[in-house]
Assembly symmetry: none
Homo-oligomer: 129 residues x 4
Amino acid sequence: MFELDLRSRSPVYEQLVEKFKELIINNVMKPDEQLPAVRVLAGELTVNPNTIQKAYRELEHRGYIYSVPGKGSFVRPAVPGNNAAKLRTLEEELSRIVSEMLYLGSTPQEIITRIKTQLAKGEGGKLDD
Amino acid sequence: MFELDLRSRSPVYEQLVEKFKELIINNVMKPDEQLPAVRVLAGELTVNPNTIQKAYRELEHRGYIYSVPGKGSFVRPAVPGNNAAKLRTLEEELSRIVSEMLYLGSTPQEIITRIKTQLAKGEGGKLDD
Amino acid sequence: MFELDLRSRSPVYEQLVEKFKELIINNVMKPDEQLPAVRVLAGELTVNPNTIQKAYRELEHRGYIYSVPGKGSFVRPAVPGNNAAKLRTLEEELSRIVSEMLYLGSTPQEIITRIKTQLAKGEGGKLDD
Amino acid sequence: MFELDLRSRSPVYEQLVEKFKELIINNVMKPDEQLPAVRVLAGELTVNPNTIQKAYRELEHRGYIYSVPGKGSFVRPAVPGNNAAKLRTLEEELSRIVSEMLYLGSTPQEIITRIKTQLAKGEGGKLDD
DNA sequence: GTGGTCTAGACCACG
DNA sequence: GTGGTCTAGACCACA
């Protein structure tokens, strides 16, 4: 299910956070769906349970999941409002990336085309799922 | 000139690398322009000279500047070719960010508009300089 | 294990880089084999740990090893593709050296024989390992 | 006549040494031919005369030229004997380079061919000049 | 215990 | 005065 790169510079728990974020954002994991139990996932990935727990704690802190003591962790439904701060951060990142692509030789046309393609896919995905 | 966050989890030298990368990419620092001397910048930012040097060396490794012992460090003029690998990485980052913006409630129209605006500015900047 | 020349004009960390490069290139250190821990090697060579780390980071930048924080540093398996630039540099060095050997009195026959011998050994080594 | 790279990491005087070595080795500068006067060359290259002098001193120390006080510096004729130490060093360098080329994916056949080609040229050059 | 970051402070080569 | 090297020694995050 997960492909962890133990050789990577980025810590294992961070890789887990990113994987789950991706699954949640792309609606592969649905709202209120339960995440694998810590010990189970630790077993499957042959990773220390502490590492899984750290990842779940981080996901909770970033607002992607909620934990119910004694029951487990679940995908937190997205709330449309109150994301202004996060969106501003993302917009800055996006600016940075577009600047760098231009610097490295991408043409504005290429960049626009690429984003439009993705937006089309993203919309479809959202509607279809 | 620089705003360092000493409490950030991202190391000081990495923050410096990002700042300079931004200045170079956005053509605020021109090709062959000299960067502040290691000791001078260290003094201004009240940071250890070794930390500045680490940032400069990293920038050199990443191809943004060149350092000439005894002379100084300078912005390396951009070479158009062979950025395929870097561009692929950036495109993946861009995908990730666009996905997340959609998840947080941005509309495709907003995203496209924002990027077009930036591309227009970027072009102007390039031409004007 | 290592012979460092502290009086050499070539810096200690650079000597270390060259030693490890040699071990890796000649397959004395195998892919994914762990390098000595920074502090351990520093102790053995009576050199500052920072110096070792600088060498390791340099080896990582040059693509010979990878370091995983908290785990260790390991030999990076060779990837065949995209060494065109490095090979061109080496070919120039080779030209320079052959010229100088001719100048110093080596005969073409001697040079060819010597290289053929090495190539035979190199092949054997590769196959045997 | 000379192309100095002031942006290079390698010091100017070292670049000069290498250039002259190359000219002498390839018989472009003949034995007992006079090198440009320090001040003249400094003027042409717009370089500090001290730098030229340092290069000449280094060339003399390495046995490529001799200096006659009050007259100038001249190419030292090659003496066939007594180069054993230098040759051993060169052979080691050659081994190192061949190893690295193999590591980077060159085939033994390619390496042999390339050296034979150069040896043919070198011989011709020597005989023709 | 591992690599990584940072400071304080010394010394060197180059131009 | 410039970048570069090195030491000594402290502290942090990760597994």
